[in-house]
Symmetry: C2
Subunit: 228 residues, 2 copies
DNA sequence: ACATGCACTATTGTATACAATTATACAGAA
DNA sequence: TTCTGTATAATTGTATACAATAGTGCATGT
């Protein structure tokens, strides 16, 4: 129990060729390796990665659904790209949805999950004090995971996971800052307490702000240079 | 201009085998033809539809990303299903996002799109008075499409389109009721006016309520029998 | 009777072959 | 020159063949 956080949330199927291709291309798009409107050719990418067209094609379909590329039938796949404005939009949207999630979690959370949430806070404090940034990242992920599950809404869970995956690239270097890590913990704690007090309005508001703060922090740390 | 509303929003690629397979399976899941947890086998479905495994597989990948099936590597694809609660959740989530969309549209809408919005309202009144339900459906779709585009957010647009597609099944029989059609028009009009007056708060609130109303209406008309 | 191992089957994963579509270049006519 | 039609090449769409994996049932030994 607990060593493989996030396995449930990862629908990229790490060990299949398709999964690897999917991940690789997504990474390349999010990191700016592929330019806006660049055409992705099945054979070229297949050769580059040493696989046939089949897994590449399947990865393309997934990438299209995630909005990262646009496939024009019988013509080709074109990179959609992701601008700083897109990132901002995503955070704004996510802020709302995390708020909704916190609200629903307040109503639906089970006793067991509530305990896990408290334990999560406790452990986060522990590791933050010692500067264990890797564990902090994992705990942060898990905190949100718990809330997703506690919302008791299959679809909200699904959507928020997508966002989470989406932003994982950006988040990495972001949470690495211990300052933000500590602030984040404090916010988590407040959200947890609001849920415990069954104050849905408060939980929603705090979760909203939590995401906005994460975004502000990222912006301040000069992400403009990271993703262009 | 205007005869093929929604073509942009449809990422199912109507005329490819994959697109048809995708649509067919989604329909079968949403309409309850496939039971919860039922296993979908590539060859079986392929034979049923007279196609090979390839387009079926690609359709599966898309269906998984939409959360309608769950694929376990090397094992199989299983129907996730969609309960009345799921539908409710989706409407709640969509309500928030349509609200956000209306807010952003208020700020970003172009003059040209504003005019199209007004024209849409006008035409809707026209057709509602004459009971042209087909045109009404089309205009309703287009109304929301315009707002999505006007939000000037690629991602919000993308997400809301997905939801829209998702609920299209349910919506069909819903909007068919002329009563609701007329009420819907009224609500559209109010949203449009709020945007025109640059009152973002009002636009957001009205859009929220608009979706909730649509849900309530659907529930009252006994959708429990439709989707189980 | 029960557990264990092995062969066999069914199903998915991947590669390749073939078909259909689209883009391009070039020749010829207006 | 400019437009148009056609042949050709490049690319995606689909089907099929082969590989890998997981599930099933039976035989065998204790």
């Amino acid at each position: 129990m607990g060593s493989e956080y996030g396995s449930k949330s990862d629908n990229t199927d790490k060990y299949s060729l398709r999964g690897r291709v999917f991940k690789k291309i997504r990474e390349d798009i999010l990191s700016g390796h592929y330019k806006e409107s660049e055409e992705l050719k099945e054979v070229a990418i297949g050769e580059e990665l040493g696989v046939s067209r089949t897994p590449v094609r399947e990865a393309f379909r997934q990438l299209e659904l995630e909005g990262l590329i646009k496939i024009i039938p019988n013509k080709g796949a074109y990179v959609t790209g992701i601008t700083p404005k897109d990132v901002k939009d995503i955070y704004m949207i996510r802020s709302m949805l995390e708020g909704l999630c916190a609200r629903w979690a307040t109503v639906n959370i089970s006793k067991k999950k509530m305990e896990e949430l408290e334990e999560n806070i406790y452990l986060s404090d522990f590791h933050a004090a010692r500067g264990h940034s890797e564990q902090l990242t994992e705990l942060d992920n898990r905190f949100h995971e718990i809330l997703y599950e506690a919302s008791d809404s299959k679809f909200l869970e699904h959507i928020l996971r997508d966002f989470h995956q989406y932003l994982v690239q950006v988040r990495m270097k972001n949470l690495a800052s211990l300052e933000r890590g500590r602030a984040s913990n404090k916010e988590h704690k407040m959200i947890m307490e609001a849920i415990k007090e069954k104050d849905a309005d408060k939980a929603e508001r705090l979760a909203n702000e939590h995401i906005i703060n994460a975004y502000q922090n990222m912006k301040n740390n000069g992400f403009e240079e990271t993703i262009e």
